[in-house]
């Protein structure tokens, strides 16, 4: 087990491992999500209190669960990167941040969309929403910090430090907001808790479990892909990149070059993500 783990940490064997695993995870994730969403939208009965509004749960809860899970994962990877100076773990921190940020934003927005019909307001300063917001800022901090450095390694290790400090901070924020709220608006909190943890029937439960597991599988698939990119970008000079990355897809890439209508032509995406995708000159001497 340990030697297996050790071998996996070397970039080339990780790259091949991810190549094999990611398509399966992605297929599984999308399948589970599709079935779960269908169940959530059309099979599960309407809630007797909230009516159909509760169906947001099948998007909101997986996104919220992922947002927390990804941050903890980032902090664990950060600790590994800082203690053992492992390149793969450094890449893992950087690769997880944008995915985590997107799911955090989704959790926030769906939370608001759920809040409006149930509590009558888009935003309530309760502990979960507020700590989710702080989490989003932490993710944005990691992404910003990563882009502020020209050297990818220094950037990744700085991000690892930030992720570690942030993971201590998130529970503190959560409990401080909870307490801050309970001082002033105790009754809303109580009803809010009841809304968030409804006694759920099994026909409502199984779609939730499906979307939950589906989005986790989806996350891992996407994360592996990002990690691959990150590792290749940082190891661009190494021999294995030439051997196992460039050989196979060579034909595909030259095809695309000729007649492609791709992301490069999409100006909005270009401006938001241009730096990240074209960040290759990093660390160049």
């Amino acid at each position: 087990m340990w030697t297996w783990f050790h071998r996996l940490a070397s970039p080339p064997s990780f790259y091949r491992f991810a190549d094999r695993l990611a398509p399966w995870l992605l297929g599984l994730g999308l399948l589970l999500l599709a079935v779960g969403c269908y169940g959530g939208l059309f099979i599960a009965p309407a809630d007797y209190q909230q009516g159909d509004a509760f169906r947001v749960i099948y998007v909101h809860v997986p996104a919220a669960a992922l947002s927390l899970f990804v941050y903890v994962l980032m902090a664990v990877a950060g600790a590994i990167a800082l203690v053992w100076r492992m390149k793969l773990a450094e890449c893992a921190v950087v690769a997880a941040a944008p995915i985590g940020a997107s799911f955090t934003a989704l959790a926030l927005v769906t939370g608001m969309l759920w809040g409006k019909p149930t509590w009558g307001a888009y935003w309530v300063w309760d502990a979960r929403l507020t700590s989710e917001l702080v989490l989003l800022f932490l993710y944005l901090g990691v992404i910003g910090l990563n882009q502020a450095y020209s050297d990818a390694r220094t950037a990744a290790r700085a991000c690892a430090w930030l992720a570690l400090v942030g993971v201590v901070n998130v529970p503190i924020v959560h409990y401080s907001v909870q307490w801050w709220n309970s001082l002033h608006q105790g009754s809303t909190i109580l009803s809010l808790e009841a809304v968030r943890d409804p006694k759920i029937s099994s026909s409502m439960l199984w779609p939730l479990l499906l979307t939950l597991s589906g989005s986790f599988a989806f996350f891992f698939a996407v994360w592996l892909r990002r990690l691959q990119n990150e590792v290749v970008a940082r190891e661009r000079g190494a021999n294995w990149v030439r051997d196992c990355v460039l050989q196979a897809p060579l034909a595909a890439v030259s095809n695309e070059q000729s007649g492609m209508t791709g992301p490069e032509l999409d100006p909005s995406m270009q401006s938001r993500q241009g730096r990240q995708r074209h960040g290759e000159p990093r660390g160049a001497d």
């Binding site: 100076r85 050297d151 390694r153 220094t154 000079g237 660390g283 001497d285």
Partner: protein, 226 residues
């Protein structure tokens, strides 16, 4: 050593204070050789050099040579303890209180005077500051000791930085480009310092683009390009 004798005579002529080269042997413990084997160091993701092996014997002056970007400073930082290697071992090196590290930056705050900067440095290292004034005097910057470092010239700042080597005696010197920005008299001065240090049994690892004078005893070159 014959070489050294000749050197001392020439020094007397220039009336450099005697104590610069009175023999003071360092404790034998601190003077085990430094042996580097199969060292690989990276800056960021770029491996600067790898498979580097060499030895530095006590009393030697190792001149690290190489073109820009060959990794002279990186090697010195690794030997001095500022950087962690990605592979290889460094054995028998000095402890924290047995080495002097002088980077290509002088570690002098522009808003403080040389004396304040050096006193701070002594306190940081738990050393007394009684030798500071004689050291500044030997390096010819005693008159500037109460001016702000920001008003000193590059060469003067360099000299102030170098006076640390005399203010606190340590057997291992790691000097990064000590000759940069220094005039002919300064070059002579540094040569004398190095010779006296080696004469006392001290060791120095020096990076420099310029050639070090042949008059130095036990001078050896390490070329990083090869």
């Amino acid at each position: 050593m014959a070489n050294e004798g000749r050197y001392c005579k020439s020094q007397e002529r220039r009336r450099v204070p005697h104590r610069l080269h009175c023999a003071r042997n360092f404790p034998a413990l601190a003077m085990s050789p430094l042996s580097v084997s199969d060292l690989a160091v990276s800056r960021g993701d770029r491996t600067v050099f790898s498979g580097l092996s060499f030895r530095v014997e006590p009393g030697e002056i190792l001149h690290v040579q190489g073109r820009n970007g060959a990794g002279k400073t990186t090697l010195l930082e690794t030997l001095g303890g500022l950087r962690v290697q990605i592979a290889g071992t460094i054995a028998g090196g000095p402890g924290a209180s047995e080495r002097h590290w002088l980077g290509h930056r002088s570690a002098l705050n522009a808003a403080l005077t040389p004396l304040e900067n050096l006193r701070f440095w002594c306190a940081l290292n738990g050393a007394g500051d009684s030798e500071l004034l004689p050291a500044l005097d030997q390096l010819g910057v005693k008159a500037q000791r109460n001016r702000l470092c920001g008003t000193l010239s590059t060469g003067q700042r360099r000299r102030v930085a170098l006076s640390r080597l005399l203010a606190v005696k340590r057997p291992w010197w790691f000097l990064d480009e000590p000759l940069a920005g220094i005039d002919a008299a300064g070059l002579q001065l540094i040569t004398q310092l190095l010779a006296a240090h080696a004469g006392e049994g001290g060791t120095a690892v020096v990076t420099s683009h310029q050639a070090l004078p042949d008059s130095l005893p036990r001078l050896r070159a390490l070329a990083l390009d090869a």
